[in-house]
Symmetry: C2
Subunit: 355 residues, 2 copies
């Protein structure tokens, strides 16, 4: 296996180097064929390494960056004001080929804007998207995109998301023909708004293994490998899920704390509850993919701890090894060639339906 | 208290009279000031009453309807083909003033179309919406609308949903100034798509107690009393929640069944789990309100059992008693008067922002 180098925005996230440096060290211990570049304020990173009784070396380099994009910085500051930010330098290392992928727990909007500005989009991709994995009832993962990068999507955008999502699943899960579903409010073709209806037509001829419409509950049923939606809908679905999961966990805890007998039952059930919590632990699938760029960039949750951030680094490494960029390129290439061939066939069909 | 009469589409839902008749009898036993009209095939309803050792009387009438709208019937069949369907006759009883409200577990799309056709919308309401309640972490309820009646909403529609949702909470929960939040993908004013941004401006001057933007997790946090969104987004949020809740319940069960020790722990924890399940039981809040019509119509879940369907009947009775229609009328009236006053002020502001 060839060596992989991952650049880490060491300053990003709620906890900065305190989390990112520890996660990098843990990762390196488990993966011997990956190098890491920690990007950020040298003294701060070195102090963190020292406190962990570690030091930089051939597999763990520090690359200096003098500025930090905060959660409150407006996009213009991230893009134009702080040209030597750890976030931006991370993206530049990818662009210059000094890293194969990047990971940042910084502000999502800023990370997308900076990554897009520095790396540019892949040919044939109009808009990058954010994809994440959610656990499903099959014991596997459902990939959902977009999650908020694009709030006003055209049918073409949605179709491209499907192509990119399929490439992601092939790269990371090694499934050759992953199924792609279009998030809608009913399974029938006639349902949904105009954009979604048109997107379904485009996905049918996109070359991906298009399943058809799916509904919100299909995300957790695991009906398809990839669920495509616009960023507004995807963001609401994700946040709603987070809110519900928290409420359920709280209610369960409350019931087990209600009185001495319940507490005793809770004590006895502790190992079961622990296993359950582990299975549901969102840290396990931390790391959203910024898809459609000429480089691999992973966005970690801002509040990630070292365990969660390590998962995001693992995801970056998997995408590199799975040849994600080449796969997206191939699929989009096939799509573009197909689009050049189909217009004459499609126009009369659509007119026929309207008549 | 004045007597309330509720018409029930006895034939609707997955189980038809087997559930609706039982629910009606249970409801009548608990509420002595409400009359019920069971609408549908007389022989079938009478057979069901007989099997439950009950009969019709002054408080429980049967109103015949010779046809049934099935789940697969296209809208045109429900609207024009089956003019004597139990669903349509239920709506007509409301229109003629023979019932104060209706309840049906039939096809949502058909029920909305038939109700709108028969009852018409209230003055000032362009589109009716579907509202439901979801439990929140405050131990209360969050009202969410729209849930699928409208997939392409204008800012005006969203603003009207806010007004109707507030009126619903006042009528049913007796809160005088319920808070209204606009579902978005960030709390800041600049977030979201154009329609949502405009809707926020309209809600600010609508007379409702507008909180501002909320996110998906706020539904379950209970940040506001009413969450407003377009039907596509609302439907996805609801279905996603259903899917996640099912997965969590399944995982919890699986962990408790994993081995003899876990099973024993589960046995000991049974009363706790039961209380938890009861609190999370979606049957408790069965019954979505079709808002914006000149009549009160409640849509029950199609798979509702007698307990769940009774909850839907209770909701109908509460809306009648709370004076829902008058409250919506008052709020919309205030909104319309306000709109007539504000345009001169608003136009220059909007132009200023664009320049």
């Amino acid at each position: 296996m060839r060596e992989v180098t991952i650049a880490i925005d060491a300053m990003g996230g709620d906890h900065g180097p305190h989390v990112t440096v520890k996660a990098a060290l843990d990762f390196l211990q488990q993966h011997h064929d990956v190098n890491i570049v920690l990007v950020g304020l040298r003294e701060v990173i070195e102090a963190e390494l020292k406190s962990l009784k570690a030091e930089s070396g051939s597999r763990l380099r520090i690359h200096p960056a003098s500025e930090v994009v905060t959660m409150d910085d407006p996009l213009t500051t991230a893009l134009r004001g702080k040209k030597d930010s750890s976030m931006r330098v991370t993206a530049e290392l990818i662009k210059r080929g000094e890293a194969d992928a990047g990971v940042s727990a910084g502000n999502t909007g800023a990370l997308m804007a900076v990554s897009r500005f520095v790396l540019k989009t892949l040919p044939g991709i109009e808009r990058p998207a954010i994809a994440t994995t959610l656990p499903n009832r099959n014991g596997g993962w459902t990939y959902v995109l977009d999650l908020g990068a694009n709030v006003d999507c055209s049918a073409e955008h949605l179709s491209q998301f499907g192509v990119m999502g399929a490439a992601l699943v092939t790269a990371v899960e090694h499934k050759e023909r992953p199924t792609v579903g279009l998030l809608n409010i009913g399974e029938e073709d006639i349902k949904g708004n105009e954009v979604v209806k048109q997107a379904a037509e485009l996905l049918k001829v996109s070359g991906v293994n298009f399943y058809g419409n799916v509904e919100g509950d299909d995300i957790y049923k695991g009906t398809v490998d990839v669920v495509v939606c616009d960023g507004f809908v995807g963001n609401v679905a994700l946040k709603t899920s987070e809110g519900l999961a928290k409420m359920i966990a709280e209610e369960l805890k409350r019931e087990f704390m209600r009185g001495p007998l319940s507490k005793l039952a809770g004590l006895i059930a502790t190992p079961v509850i622990k296993r359950f919590k582990k299975r549901m632990d969102p840290r396990r699938y931390n790391g959203a993919s910024l898809l459609g760029l000429r480089g691999i960039m992973i966005k970690s949750h801002g509040s990630a701890d070292a365990y969660a951030f390590r998962k995001a680094i693992e995801r970056a490494a998997e995408e590199v090894r799975g040849g994600l960029l080449r796969r997206i390129g191939d699929q989009v290439g096939a799509l573009t060639r197909q689009e050049e061939q189909v217009p004459e066939e499609q126009v009369p069909e659509e007119q026929g339906e309207r008549a």
